[in-house]
Symmetry: D2
């Protein structure tokens, strides 16, 4: 525990908060169904730090553990308003039924809330998603016009719903693999690219541009670049809005960033880590295309190096063979299964093995992250925190950081970073777990 | 990162360090074989923080990551001298062969180092260990005389081996279940109990008493009480020596304190956690007796409550059904298998499951903990840190704390506590993972 | 394929078949719900050989594969009438809801069929089932009077429901461990025992006696002795009715009798087989009592010896360490989990391991066995096959055999025995899988 | 049990039996090391039916269970002589060390026996094995010349080693995917193809041709076509020699043909079966090439259809989604891991899951199959059984059958076929498991 700072000034969270979701599929509808279920008292907000979390303040013996949402001025769930774009015209209820994440009798309890959610036509480009055939899409002559159409829709949405603030979050599928090109270098080149239909500008970037230009924060739940480029960072700072990403950390990667820090804390050597996934939802279908899987694979592979630090620990981690597989397996639907085999070497070179089988549910794990991110992005905006929000790394498979700063993947360092940031914002002492003072006489 | 303190004064680690092990079985011989193997360059010191660990100092961008053993003045492995007591007369090599932890060809590389290690006669009491028949035991008329015999052996060992410092560590089997009695309340009542042969004073307490009276620290690798009572705490402070315990954290409980903090960080509800172990070594045989299993069970069950905090989170963790089983299964020998099934409930009440199968090796995981504890207990002694060393919780299933302080079981909080304690001792800044300064312009 | 016999004479299956179930809990209600669901076309009869099975007749190249139910004159599901006894007064629908095996919306489709099923008062004896407190039980001065009360109820049921034939099946919990006593030696001593209230005569034996005296076959789905004693065998032959048992083969033991024959066919050595179960239904609660678990354990342990034949294969199977555990684990309800670890030794003594995790459902696996047994017991009765029906071993964990004959536990030998018995009854050739004739020119 | 036939006439097994192995890698060296270890009494012949198996003759109550090798006139292990071809020049000991299947101290006990085994230069064609670079290969102008070179080597081997009989077995890697072409239609076209260097004639076919022309049986341990074509069948019959194949049934497919028949016996519906393998030996490396994996995949995928019969059982098995993956994973070496997830639907449509994790060893499972096949192929030859030996299906993943006959994959039907064939050869009764006679009075 160390000395406190002055609290940061945060504007109050009054009025409606408009939540704009790109993609009205399994994740988005499960999020909306859940929030409305919570408001109706049908279910508890399991999985959400903002709704459940207590935060320790001061010394262990002080017993100060307020709820996060009591300590921090977060938006109220009753102030939520939803908007969405999708490449299919199904309303929220129809989309949720097709997604098959939640049982029908549960969905029916929030049927009205979901049914009113009619998606706007999406910005779509088949080269970024070969497995899906969008039928509910905007057609314009260039990408700048698409962006302008989005900007106009955002403004109309805000006015129509009488919103005080808005935030945008990407809940759609993974786009095909892409790397930085000259268009992504700064705002000017990016706008040129939009006008010239640069093929390297993907749909998610057009949404992000529209959001930032509208002074709205953008959170990216998929591994595609979107706001992770110099142009968007520049624009976010210019507009004074927060950005964060990439790729909701759920399922197997969540487990990996829990287990790997534990094995590393014990300095156990790893020779192999084999991860395979079976899933049968639309996400699985999209990732069955090699170019989309590559985007995901890059996101999934990076975590171990950052946690294990093979450069510092060549004897322990330099020869680790890490392999990640995703298999489209329709019998499972949204109910993913992630299986890991970890080959460990211990004291005196003796081999051991660890096997983890996670029978999980993709969207069930993602939905509460959407809720927390929406609330924290709105908080950051009101607190004047603009550009990359590294303190939200906790929620992402491939956290964005300032240039020159290595991302932190260890879930427990991420959790510490998040909680200490909240303490910092409120002018409370940092927690260090030192605790030597209890033993000093 | 927060403001630094002045470094603590630490006496240099010069001269021989005598390591006195209670129990010369699988753990102790694997520890000695390993250390000697490392000294000979036969194997790397996998699993040991003191031998492998780097410690980050300062900001992430400072890139200061010295080795722990370069930063902190630890004893040199070349200065180790070993002593042991055991209820069987086998020397270290014979005992290691019977334990069957390490392959014979590996043992043969350190045969000489193990063979010279002849155990002294043990203090033994069958009521605390019904499954073993000790043949190499001390016989005295009362427990005080047993303690005095140990004290004399310690003095002789120190002199004979020309040791600068000594430390004692319990590497023997788990004793039968025991609770605090009047004898354990203070030094005076304890000494009365020794003289009157109080049946509630177990062998491990007699060793601990002898160690502390000889001004030697005592680390407790099993779940029996030993130094975990007011009398021993009082004596440790009086004598100016460190004590720590209880129960080396290896195998299934290690995994539990890795995984549970991860699930709790995500506020996932848990309805059931079923843990079963199969192991076939002497430890498994001893734990096949219900009274000894009870001691272990108590140690193993406590971890989840402390991590999950059902009082703070009744909706999430109050109804958790936690069951731990240990099965003696001879086909496995020292190669334990720990299987966990975890029943999880997520967003909207949807059930998920996590299965973990850890094909591990008991003594292989414990041996490097012995090494680290021996070095850190010696460090604490030289740094004038007396009484309970809570900062060593990282190594224990049931960490000892000052009265009134709840133990910390979360492996990552324990790691933080350990590393920040090292930083504190050296006058370095505490790490908080806040990192807001990188983003403040 | 070998020479055919004359078909056996079988009386036609005309008129109502009354099915008398002892125990109206998870298994019985799932059976009734399923049969009625099948009749209504709500679900397919998955898991039932009599409803799905085709049977190969003649040579492979003949392509004669009629449905079993077309070849063999079985009772029609539309002719079923149900009766039951239970220690609780809940009707079939209430009991099914409490059991929680089937989702409510599915149960509601057969609500009427279940609701009319009102249990008769049970014969109950707490010494055989310490964990349950029966509230709906018969009270008489001795066991013979209890038997006579049952006999009278059976006669009334038959008349009231206008049944052509009846059959009785034990679907209740496992009774406490019991062995043969003098009362069980012959019909005369048994009747003496009934009159004298011999404590060694358990409730299931009273039901069995009542059934046989009423000229009704008795199938035993639990591991208690019931009809597995000389007295009942004598009575069954005298009355001309079939008996079969013991203990429905589902879950882990089913898997064991599938996998063990495969490993044995390959002459792989086994050193250890560790089986643990977690289940949370009423069965799990009853088996939490050591005296009831002992009955189950005996049933579960016997299968490996019979399949592996350690006397013939001492090098391979004499040192096998076999351990079976059942843990009551409420979070799982009826959804059992059976986990097996098998330690294998192969060529040149090299160790291998096999791990099986069966996420199954107790009553879902048992219900179709009830259906098949009811139909085959009725068939046997009409075919004049009296006494022990060893050909039904396929359905049981601990098959009953004629004295002096070792039971067959290998599932595939049991299947062969069942199918070749059906072929034999119809005068068809036996299948031997020789097939040499296809290659003889 | 059915009526016996006259025994078949079998020539005695006197004199040396020459065993010609194509490929002197992990499987072949493990086989030779094992046989020599057995002869020296170092190890028991675990995994071999011919060396361990007892066979039941007559009624269960007859208690006639002779050893297979006592009943049937098999060659003696002491009469074995080994020859091999390989694409690398390492002798048997060097190759076994590189394969890393057996620990060095075990190999050293048969070092002399392995060291003398110097491979002859191989017939190699890189288009059939892109991942390996053969350095020890024959160079000829056409494939007929290669065949003639092999024929000459065979004759020389027989003479030099004074062999009474020879048999050839393919123990090399899987060849790239291939289908039947005009060259494979009959002996004449095949010989034309050899002369014209038809690219569709793979190395394994050249070996097979050479074997058959030399009047030697050929057993095929890999999934490539080799003898599985009309031309080879014609030639085998013409020369009076047995042929058998394809692909040693070990590991995951072995488990699949054990478990699937069990689930099918219970008429449980299957919706998905996902199988993944990780292995790191030379076989894994070769199968990392898509064209070689395709050959293996075809072999592995076929088994379920044959066992489950989706045409007879469309409701149960038509929608089964079956996926097989093999991943080259170097940390594992020869120690394969096969993981299966099986999605099951039971009574009333309720879902269940079965997970199997087989920590096995590729060559350890294959070596005893080589031993049995060598002995049974030699037996068949002496018994005048020429052409396809379907009764050896028990040993193969993709059993060869006469045209028009569906292969049998159910391990238990295969075992029955094998054992009843042995009974048939000796004039003993067929076993049918009917057993009705025990109950007929």
């Amino acid at each position: 525990m160390t000395q406190a700072h002055h609290p940061i000034e945060i504007k109050p969270a009054k009025g409606k908060l408009g939540i704009l979701m790109v993609g009205l599929g399994a994740v988005a509808t499960t999020f909306v169904a859940g929030v409305e279920g919570i408001r109706k008292g049908v279910r508890k907000p399991i999985g959400s730090l903002t709704q459940n979390g207590h935060i320790r303040l001061g010394k262990r013996t002080d017993h100060r553990n307020p709820l996060v949402k009591e300590l921090i001025p977060l938006a109220d769930l009753n102030d939520f308003v939803y908007g969405a774009w999708d490449i299919f015209p199904d309303n929220g209820y129809e989309a949720a039924c097709k997604a098959g994440v939640l049982p029908r009798d549960l969905l029916d309890k929030v049927k009205d809330d979901l049914s009113v959610l009619e998606p706007m036509k999406a910005v779509f480009d088949q080269t970024y998603c070969s497995r899906l055939q969008g039928t509910h899409v905007k057609t314009k002559t260039n990408k700048m016009e698409l962006a302008e159409a989005l900007i106009q829709e955002i403004a109309e949405f805000k006015k129509k719903n009488n919103c005080d603030r808005l935030t945008m979050i990407w809940c759609a599928s993974t786009e095909a693999y892409n790397t930085l090109s000259p268009s992504h270098q700064n705002v000017k080149s990016f706008e040129e690219g939009l006008k010239n239909n640069d093929p390297r500008i993907s749909p998610s970037m057009i949404y992000a541009y529209a959001a930032l230009k509208s002074k709205i924060g953008f959170a990216n739940g998929a591994p595609n670049l979107s706001v992770d480029c110099p142009a968007m960072n520049e624009l976010a700072k210019e507009m004074g809005v927060p950005i964060s990403g990439k790729d909701f950390k759920t399922g197997q990667t969540l487990m990996k960033t829990i287990v790997a820090p534990g094995l590393a804390a014990r300095y156990l050597k790893l020779t192999g880590w084999y991860s395979t996934n079976i899933l049968g939802n639309r996400d699985g279908e999209v990732l069955d295309a090699p170019e989309n899987f590559k985007t995901k694979e890059t996101s999934k592979l990076s975590v171990l190096d950052s946690i294990l630090k093979p450069d510092l620990y060549p004897d322990l981690y330099k020869d680790l063979y890490h392999k990640v597989r995703i298999n489209y397996y329709p019998p499972r639907g949204d109910n993913k299964e992630g299986w890991d085999n970890i080959d460990i070497v211990g004291w005196m070179g003796m081999p051991m093995q660890l096997k983890i089988d996670f029978l999980c549910r993709d969207s069930i794990l993602a939905a509460p992250l959407v809720l927390d991110l929406v609330l924290f992005m709105d908080l950051a905006h009101r607190a004047g925190m603009r550009g990359i929000q590294e303190w939200l790394s906790f929620y992402y498979k491939a956290p964005m950081t300032k240039e020159g700063l290595e991302p932190v993947h260890n879930l427990f360092h991420q959790e510490m970073k998040l909680l200490n940031t909240l303490r910092y914002m409120m002018g409370e002492d940092q927690i260090t777990h030192l605790g030597i003072e209890y033993y000093q006489e």
